[in-house]
């Protein structure tokens, strides 16, 4: 399981715009590099990232080999209600990781 770090404010006012940050450890092998013996190292990257707020998709990203290793993405959303923010990464070779964070909205 890849190491995951997400940042979501624990508390927010209703309607407040909050910053969300997500970081995951992954080497993002581009598929364009060669090993010391000259063989092409096969591509192994994360290809998609989805963030859901109480089940509703609020952010989605398609990743390419040009995304740096240990993909970091930060974005914004409006805090509408208390609940759970789910993060989901998927990639080559069946890679999959999830994380969640609770938010309480007053």
């Amino acid at each position: 399981m890849a190491r995951v770090l997400v940042s979501v404010p624990a508390k927010a006012g209703r309607g407040e715009i909050i910053a969300i940050k997500a970081l995951i450890s992954h080497h993002m092998e581009t598929g364009f590099r060669h090993s010391t013996t000259g063989e092409l190292i096969p591509r192994d990257i994360i290809t998609s990232f989805v963030c859901r707020y109480n089940g509703e998709e609020i952010f989605r990203a398609e990743l390419f080999p040009a995304t740096a290793a240990n993909p970091f993405i930060s974005f914004y959303t409006r805090a509408t209600e208390s609940g759970t923010i789910m993060f989901e990464w998927a990639g080559d070779n069946g890679f999959s990781a999830t994380e969640q964070a609770a938010i309480s909205v007053e």
Binding site: I58, F59, T67, P71
Partner: protein
């Protein structure tokens, strides 16, 4: 260059070069992605279709001089009220000289509140990076930055 070139000819050449430069500048304003390699152009067309790409609204924030192309902090902000009627649907980042033209594509909605995304990217060489935003009214807006890379993202031996 040969030193015996008649000065009238030299003047004419210089004038022609100046005119070309001005012409290229004018084209640049109308089509911000005009002078870029074919692969990137094709990648942009798959996203944009035949729509016109306008300049403005988008701010691509990326350092102009980067020491290590393996990790380049990069953020894109779009000037948009982010209401149900007027919001940013998607932001795409493209590059000229990496093995592939796509960098990242993100999809937002009206509830994002603020159309701003930050990430870290790889750049293999000194090149131009372009961010294109798709708005809810179907229009496309772009910004581009020329980035100088001292050490490119590693494409060779591991």
């Amino acid at each position: 260059m040969s030193g015996d070139l008649p000065s009238a000819t030299r003047r004419r050449i210089l004038k022609a070069v100046a005119a070309l430069t001005v012409g290229a500048g004018a084209v640049q304003i109308i089509r911000p992605t005009g002078a870029t390699p074919a692969a990137m152009q094709a990648a942009i067309r798959t996203v944009v279709g035949e729509n016109q790409i306008n300049r403005g609204k988008v701010t691509l924030d990326i350092p102009p001089l980067v020491e290590n192309g393996n990790t380049v902090a990069c953020s894109v902000a779009v000037d948009s009220p982010m209401t149900a009627a007027d919001y940013v649907r998607a932001i795409h980042i493209f590059n000229e000289k990496n093995p592939q033209p796509n960098v990242i594509g993100v999809h937002l909605g009206p509830r994002a509140g603020r159309a701003k995304v930050s990430t870290r990217i790889r750049l293999a060489d000194t090149q131009r990076v372009i961010a294109i935003a798709e708005l809810s009214d179907g229009s496309f807006w772009s910004d581009s930055v020329d980035v100088v890379i001292t050490l490119g993202a590693c494409l060779e031996d591991s």
